[in-house]
């Protein structure tokens, strides 16, 4: 069985340093969702069904400002587009696995689980321990995330306002975004997106995140071509 495989235990152990980042971000996400007026049970359900923190924090802000449902879903799509990149790369490892396993891999895909997986198996694509390793890492990250969100939901509005804990959400995004700045083109994409969103603060319906995404992608492509 997969959970008796030594690779499963290796996957579990590999997540331990990563949990230090996941747990505070999960707590912040839980607090942000409740603070934006999402009922606690719906927030927990969202955490289980969507399981993508960045898009949940952004959606919570949009919902709090009464943005239309379609825009919230569209923003979620844009923020989570990176998962499509991950799925294209994970296919190289799991193409021959049964459908059930591929769906499990899909559901458990998260930034850091993908990162751990790639770090260990990029050089050894034929390793039979890939699936148990992925499950070990993915299940621990999943459980820690859900527990952290639940904690955040329970804390909810109980945090004193003078702690300024709401600022922890952008701080977590800073930490998540920086590792994606791998070369000049991706730095250009980030700078262009940041400038665009600040200039477009007053665009109605918070469409500014879509404009910023387009500006960032364009800047990245232009800088990439110059080389």
């Amino acid at each position: 069985m997969w959970f008796r495989d030594p690779a499963f235990a290796a996957g579990v152990r590999a997540t331990l340093p990563v949990l230090l980042g996941i747990i505070p971000f999960g707590v912040i996400t839980g607090v942000a969702m409740v603070a934006s007026g999402i009922p606690p049970l719906v927030a927990m359900l969202m955490s289980v069904l969507v399981f993508a923190g960045a898009s949940m924090v952004a959606s919570a802000q949009l919902l709090a400002s009464n943005a239309p449902a379609l825009l919230v879903v569209l923003t979620t799509l844009i923020i989570n587009l990176r998962f499509m990149m991950y799925s294209a790369s994970l296919r190289l490892h799991f193409a021959d696995a049964p459908l059930g396993r591929r769906l499990a891999v899909a559901y458990l895909t998260a930034d850091n689980v993908y990162g751990l997986m790639l770090g260990r198996f990029a050089e050894h694509p034929g390793d039979p321990g890939k699936y148990p390793y992925f499950l070990g890492a993915g299940l621990v990250v999943w459980a820690a995330w859900q527990a952290a969100v639940l904690g955040g939901i329970l804390i909810g509005a109980g945090v004193p306002a003078q702690w300024r804990l709401e600022f922890a959400a952008p701080l977590a995004f800073i930490a998540i975004s920086i590792p994606f700045l791998r070369d000049r083109a991706s730095v250009a994409a980030a700078v262009a997106a940041g400038v665009a969103i600040v200039l477009c603060q007053d665009v109605p319906l918070k469409l500014n995140i879509l404009i910023a995404a387009a500006a960032g992608i364009a800047a990245g492509l232009v800088v990439e071509k110059r080389k």
Binding site: V57, L63, L81, R82, R102, L103, R164, A172, V198
Partner: protein
């Protein structure tokens, strides 16, 4: 009702993106241009989420700069959050 629709939409869209290439028939590829464009989505979108909080609200700018430096040097979410929050309170106390 709208909240439930939103939740359902978010869940479907997110799972579809995660599962896309794991369930599509082998050999299915994205158009080359789309693939190149996709590479810049994380850097652009994740930055766009935090940029207004740090750049528009002047009193949060110094703490944001501290957090960026810590994230850049140590790549640790936990350290970045702690450093940014401490810096926010420190600068508020100094000014």
């Amino acid at each position: 009702m709208t909240l439930w629709l939103t939740l359902l939409g978010m869940a479907l869209v997110t799972f579809a993106l995660r599962a896309a290439f794991l369930v599509l028939p082998p050999g299915t590829e994205l158009p080359a241009f789309f693939k190149r464009a996709l590479r810049y989505v994380p850097a652009a979108v994740l930055t766009a989420i935090w940029a207004p909080e740090v750049l528009v609200q002047n009193e949060q700018l110094p703490a944001g700069v501290v957090a960026i430096a810590v994230a850049w040097r140590w790549r640790m979410t936990f350290a970045t959050i702690i450093a940014g929050l401490l810096a926010l309170h420190l600068f508020a106390w100094l000014i």
